[in-house]
């Protein structure tokens, strides 16, 4: 079947199926199982209303269960087993983890990931705050915001191409077509650098790509928070003689600290999952490995499900503090 046709059929079946499910299951409940008629009408209605939420929830619960909850458990199990030839698997305890901890590549990925975790959220938040603060004070601020926010819509892969062009290097003597080398040569560099293979700086050059993408997000959220600050507090500070910088750092920033934390953690989660950028730009060569790409290597290149799952569990472990914090907050809020 032609994929377009298949897509249309799926949309119809998928969407129609969903709507049909919801419609007919409700009908069944109200008309057949617990009809709102006869001597037990009242009781039947009460019962139907006890069941109905679960009808509404069922598809979502199923999908969440199969696609998110089950994999967490299954990955944990896989990380403790080893595949044997013939499809069997065998419990091996922590052997996979031990093997992984013994690999320098893993530690390289860990080290790099930690750097990513420090640099990307920090820079994105700082730039985002800067952009938010600046654009709220000029008339063309909305245009500026929109342009800074734009990379958000660009895929990591697209961003990788964009930035590879920026980092491109041509042999000595030729015109440089990568901006970075062009600037480098312009400011007196002797020979163009192959930036992405330079161990050390190359990691930061990859991080810049993500900062470039995430700054817009930080800006949008922080800008809303900045605007939510009561105008009177700022005016009071000005009357008290604070200069614009003091107003910003002593009055505004403390008031939006909560939002800054939210932005920071959200970007942290993105960083922990970052895969495409590294995959497309260096594929972890020249000491730019990160956990997500390391895991992909293990799973699909080395076909080592045990170590792959173990590294996935490490990522899970790293996000779990945030998970716990989020759940805690959500529960607090609902009370």
């Amino acid at each position: 079947m032609h994929p377009a046709l298949q897509a249309i059929v799926t949309i119809i079946i998928g969407v129609g199926g969903c709507v049909g499910y919801f419609y007919f299951s409700n009908q069944f409940l109200d008309k057949v199982l617990f009809p709102a008629r006869g001597p037990n009408a009242g009781r039947n209605i009460t019962r139907a209303n006890m069941i109905r939420p679960w009808l509404f929830l069922m598809p979502a619960l199923l999908a969440l269960g199969v696609y998110l909850a089950y994999p967490v458990v299954e990955t944990l199990r896989l990380s403790l087993t080893e595949r044997l030839p013939g499809g069997e698997s065998q419990y091996v305890g922590l052997a996979n983890y031990q093997q992984m901890f013994a690999e320098p590549k893993f530690w390289e990925a860990m080290r790099n990931n930690m750097m990513w975790l420090l640099v990307v959220p920090a820079l994105s938040t700082v730039f985002g705050l800067l952009a938010a603060q600046l654009s709220d004070r000029v008339r063309w601020g909305n245009l500026a915001k929109s342009l800074i926010f734009m990379p958000m819509a660009i895929s990591f892969v697209g961003a990788a191409v964009i930035w590879k062009l920026v980092y491109d290097a041509r042999p000595v003597g030729q015109d440089q077509i990568g901006v970075l080398n062009a600037l480098y040569m312009f400011f007196g560099g002797t020979e163009p650098k192959n930036w992405l293979t330079m161990i050390g700086p190359n990691n930061y050059l990859l991080m810049i790509v993500l900062v470039w993408i995430q700054t817009g997000f930080a800006m949008v959220i922080l800008s809303a928070a900045l605007r939510g600050i009561p105008e009177e507090t700022v005016e009071a500070a000005i009357v008290d003689g604070a200069n614009p910088f003091q107003v910003f750092f002593k009055i505004k920033v403390p008031q939006i600290m909560g939002t800054i934390v939210v932005v920071w953690t959200t970007i942290t989660i993105v960083v922990l999952k970052v895969f495409d950028i590294v995959f497309a730009m260096t594929n972890g060569q020249w000491e730019t490995q990160v956990l997500a790409n390391y895991m992909y290597d293990k799973l699909f290149r080395a076909n080592d499900w045990g170590v792959g799952s173990a590294s996935a569990m490490i990522i899970m472990l790293l996000v779990s503090p945030i998970l716990v914090w989020n759940v805690y907050n959500a529960r607090k809020e609902m009370k």
């Binding site: 994929p3 509404f56 696609y67 734009m150 809303a224 005016e235 992909y296 990522i315 998970l323 759940v327």
Partner: protein
Amino acid sequence: MSNIAGTKSSLTWAVHLSLAALVLLWLFPTVGLLVSSFRTSDQIASTGWWKAMVPSEQNLTLRTGGAEDQVQKEGGFVIEGNLFGEPGDAVISVWGTSSRAISDYQAGETAELKDDATLTVQSNGDYQMQSPEEFTGKRGQRIFVTARTPPEFTLRNYKYVLFDPSNREGMAKAFFNTLTVTIPATIIPILVAAFAAYALAWMDFPGRALLIAAVVGLLVVPLQLALIPLLKLHNEIGIGKGYLGAWLAHTGFGLPLAIYLLRNYMVGLPRDIIENAKVDGATDFQIFTKIILPLSFPALASFAIFQFLWTWNDLLVALVFLIDSTGDTTVMTKQIVELLGTRGGNWEILATSAFVSIAVPLGVFFAMQKYLVRGLLAGSVK
């Protein structure tokens, strides 16, 4: 704050300037790609894209016509023509006949070649080569010119990448495949999530608080965890690799955010309206379809944008759940990664392919930015 007396205007300028610098910095890389996608491979390889906007000094190596173009004129042989094929916008300033001396002659000057031959090159590229003897070389004379060419852009790359049937790395098919993944993967989770969100927002049942907490928890579970178990599952139940698997995976991974966003929005709808509908005799199903869904349009739109962007831009799910060894179902992101490997130097193809894949999300972004921002705010600021 501009209305406060005595605000220094120098500071305002500083604000304008620094914001402009920031915006340019953010825009520059993307513009580079866009501009490059409209240049020929020669142009891309010889000058930086930022020079494409202004007339560029270029050093070109061109050839005169070969021996077969010669005509005999009053006691000599002449080859005439234009170095660029026909007179164009390029203006030659200096030229030379050897790679070591590319600027020996001004335009309009005549050079002595060997065997008493002479060559005159005009600034518009017209040349005349004369010799008493018959010319023999088939390939003509090499000439090194320094020419100033006006900006020139071409749609050829797009034609090649999108419409050339002989191009096996073309993006047309991948574009289509991406679309095929994206649309069902955007619509289905919205529908499923909307019902769940309504139940979590407005229906009373034991365990509701727990479920909401679970959704918040699942919000951050890394996708990576799901790869192997689900690939195994898909293989076991016979879905294997393909669209169905990708749709299901995207649905599953998108649901927590969808439920979370929609529930937050629906909880904020006025209780009275829903109760009034109950008094009016609407069933929960009717309340949902006739009241809640229309009123939740902004939230639905913002999630739809998120999910669209994320499925369109996704690489990992496609790699793991969709693209099999035949590569028939390849998506644009995967195609680009492949091109990065095989055509790393061919920037015209890379840039164009990348831009083809970026264009749609960018369009969606600019058209629906309002909803995107609203969704972001609903999702992160509490």
